[in-house]
């Protein structure tokens, strides 16, 4: 049924100088990316950085204003239909019809991929088993947990076994356990040779899954490299504590001056202090407790944590990630009134993909 595709030995994904505007919002300002076949690229950035827009350009949902994008050698502007034959898109459960069972959902998608009735049925069964949905296969999808719905959505994007898969924030909104389950599923998938482009707001997720991480901010690539390389630039772990008496913040900061790799950062609003400590977390905790105790300063929740997206941004750009904590409905509604294109983009992405 499929016409055998011409050979392509270049990278699975090439994005070259892509620009995209929504009205006066310059969502992508010259993005370059290369994803080699069989590897995982993590596209990391805050809400509105342009991650979802990149995915939309690569899955032919949005034409780029300038630049070129190829998926398996197929140009998204010149041969969009050929691109659609080689990509799968999943993320926020959009393909799932709640009233239908997991099996029915997958079978109908199989038909939409022109598999033929019997093959669609077989493929659905395979995917249900593979994604641990066998027991729930004949229950309506609305009875599924969040994690199960995401797995079903992911299964839905794999019906046609696409060589290139896009996962748009596959774990946003999931509880920690489902997130780890989802990671396991994704890792297994990648082991099978699928090329994956994954967008995420979480450094640990990119760290966990990606061979290479590209950090985007305001529509531009601001850093690229392995997780290790990025973390080296960030400077490793962070000691964080809250000072009970906000009046003594400055005093606390100076007491902690010697214990880390750099000057302590002070957040006046929350009364929090964070100190980069590299790999010497426990040593730093002991040092910090001693120093504060000696100064007679009381603290709350002193601890060491892995670097977060905020730390990456702070290290790379000198400013914090400008994510709005509310990526939800309020934003979407507001955007919709500002202009049809922008509003629609924000509405689809579900994370207000407009700065």
């Amino acid at each position: 049924m499929t016409i055998s595709p011409p050979a392509w030995d270049g990278p699975a994904i090439v994005v070259d100088g892509v620009h995209k505007r929504f009205g006066d919002v310059h969502a992508l300002r010259g993005i370059d990316l290369v994803v080699e076949r069989g590897t995982v690229l993590g596209l990391l950035g805050p809400n509105g950085a342009g991650k979802t827009t990149v995915v939309k350009v690569l899955t032919t949902l949005l034409p780029p204003d300038a630049g070129r994008a190829l998926v398996e050698g197929r140009d998204v502007v010149r041969s969009p239909e050929a691109v659609r034959e080689v990509v799968g898109l999943a993320g926020q459960s959009a393909a799932i019809q709640d009233e239908l069972t997991g099996r029915e959902n997958l079978e109908i998608l199989g038909r939409l991929y022109h598999l033929g009735r019997r093959q669609a049925r077989r493929r659905a069964q395979e995917l249900l088993e593979r994604f641990d949905l066998g027991d729930a296969a004949d229950r309506p999808a609305k009875t599924y947990s969040g994690g199960m719905q995401r797995r079903l959505d992911l299964a839905a994007s794999l019906v046609a076994e696409p060589p290139v898969l896009f996962l748009d924030e596959p774990t946003t909104g999931l509880d920690p356990r489902s997130r780890i389950g989802m990671w396991a599923v994704i890792r297994e998938l990648v082991a099978g040779g699928t090329t994956l482009l994954l967008t995420t707001q979480y450094l640990d997720e990119a760290d966990e899954l990606a061979d290479e991480i590209v950090v985007v901010d305001h529509g531009l690539v601001i850093a690229a490299g392995t997780a290790e390389a990025l973390k080296t630039r960030v400077g490793g772990d962070v000691l964080e504590l809250t000072v009970k008496d906000a009046g003594r913040l400055a005093e606390a900061a100076s007491a902690l001056a010697g214990i880390g790799d750099g000057a302590p950062g002070v957040d006046e609003d929350t009364g929090r202090i964070h100190v980069p400590v590299g790999g010497r977390g426990s040593q730093a905790v002991v040092g910090a407790v001693r120093a504060l105790d000696a100064a007679g300063i009381e603290t709350d929740g002193l601890g060491v944590r892995r670097p977060s997206l905020d730390d990456v941004f702070l290290a790379l750009t000198g400013h914090a990630a400008e994510a709005e904590p509310d990526g939800g409905r309020g934003r979407r509604r507001r955007h919709r009134r500002e202009g049809p294109e922008r509003g629609a983009a924000a509405a689809r992405s579900g994370d207000g993909e407009t700065p």
Binding site: K56, S79, E81, E104, I108
Partner: protein, 274 residues
């Protein structure tokens, strides 16, 4: 620009589009797959179908027994009323079209479909087929209730069948308008309100429920010439006997015009990047 690759950017593959025959076959099978999906969903939420039938039945009973007594027409009100109610039921069935398309746009379902190698027309066509089936169900139930409350076809079975077909074609034409609006607005709630705003005046300021002669003169000018009246007059002639020719070609022109204008608009709204 080759900085990203660190090597020259390879030339893209040139890929011939699929042959027309395959595209047509896929277009049909994609649309039917989506129709099937809608029918399955309705079978799981039967209340949706029940409510979409109960509402026009309620109109039949209200007008037959509450308002009917006060409306004087020659030949009995129930016979006058039923073609109008049937046309209105068919038109109101299009609420569902607009709302479900807007919801699917809003939820990203349609974006997902657009990333798949399926026919661009399938979402629209599949939805229209499903809604037409739902509309036929509604029209049949309304007719049955009509029979129970005294309505009779007075012009033989072939014109009666013609009336049902005209009602369904009319409903389908209204569905194309609703589909275009639903796909363009992409917001379930505004689409619902918009449906009320345009369909209520159009169906009530018509010959559906009262003789147009009972309206003030300035309103008559609108009521006489608007498409709902024209279609209903034709349906009445088919059901009860009367002149067919004038309203027939006017109906055909209006319905053809609606489809010709709003199908391309709906397709454009569907294609518009979101």
């Amino acid at each position: 620009m080759t900085a990203a690759a660190g090597r020259p950017l390879p030339a893209p593959l040139t890929i011939a589009p699929r042959p027309l025959g395959i595209r047509l076959r896929h277009g049909v099978s994609d649309a039917l797959a989506l129709t099937w999906r809608d029918l399955l969903v309705w079978s799981r939420v039967p209340m949706f179908l029940v409510f979409s039938v109960v509402q026009p039945v309620m109109f039949v009973l209200l007008f037959r027994y509450v308002f009917g007594g006060a409306i004087k027409v020659s030949g009995g009100y129930v016979d006058y009323l039923m073609p109008g109610i049937i046309a209105q039921s068919a038109a109101f069935a299009s609420f569902g079209t607009a709302i479900s398309l807007a919801r699917e746009m809003q939820r990203g379902v349609i974006d997902r479909f657009r990333s798949m190698p399926m026919a661009r027309s399938a979402v629209l066509v599949g939805r229209l087929i499903a809604d037409t089936l739902r509309m036929i169900l509604t029209v049949l139930v309304v007719m049955l209730v009509g029979y129970a409350v005294g309505f009779r076809f007075r012009n033989g079975w072939a014109p009666a069948l013609g009336m049902v077909v005209l009602a369904v074609v009319f409903g389908l034409a209204v569905c194309t308008v609703s589909a275009a609006v639903g796909l363009a607005l992409r917001d379930e709630e505004s689409v619902g309100s918009f449906g009320l705003i345009w369909l209520f005046p159009l169906t009530f300021v018509s010959a559906a429920f009262v003789p147009i002669a009972s309206m003030p003169g300035w309103l008559q000018a609108f009521a006489v010439n608007q498409p709902v009246t024209i279609v209903i007059e034709e349906m009445r002639s088919l059901a009860l006997g009367g002149p067919l020719a004038l309203h027939a070609w006017q109906s055909a022109a209006w319905l053809g015009g609606m489809v010709a204008v709003f199908v391309p608009l709906a397709v454009r709204a569907y294609r518009r990047p979101g």
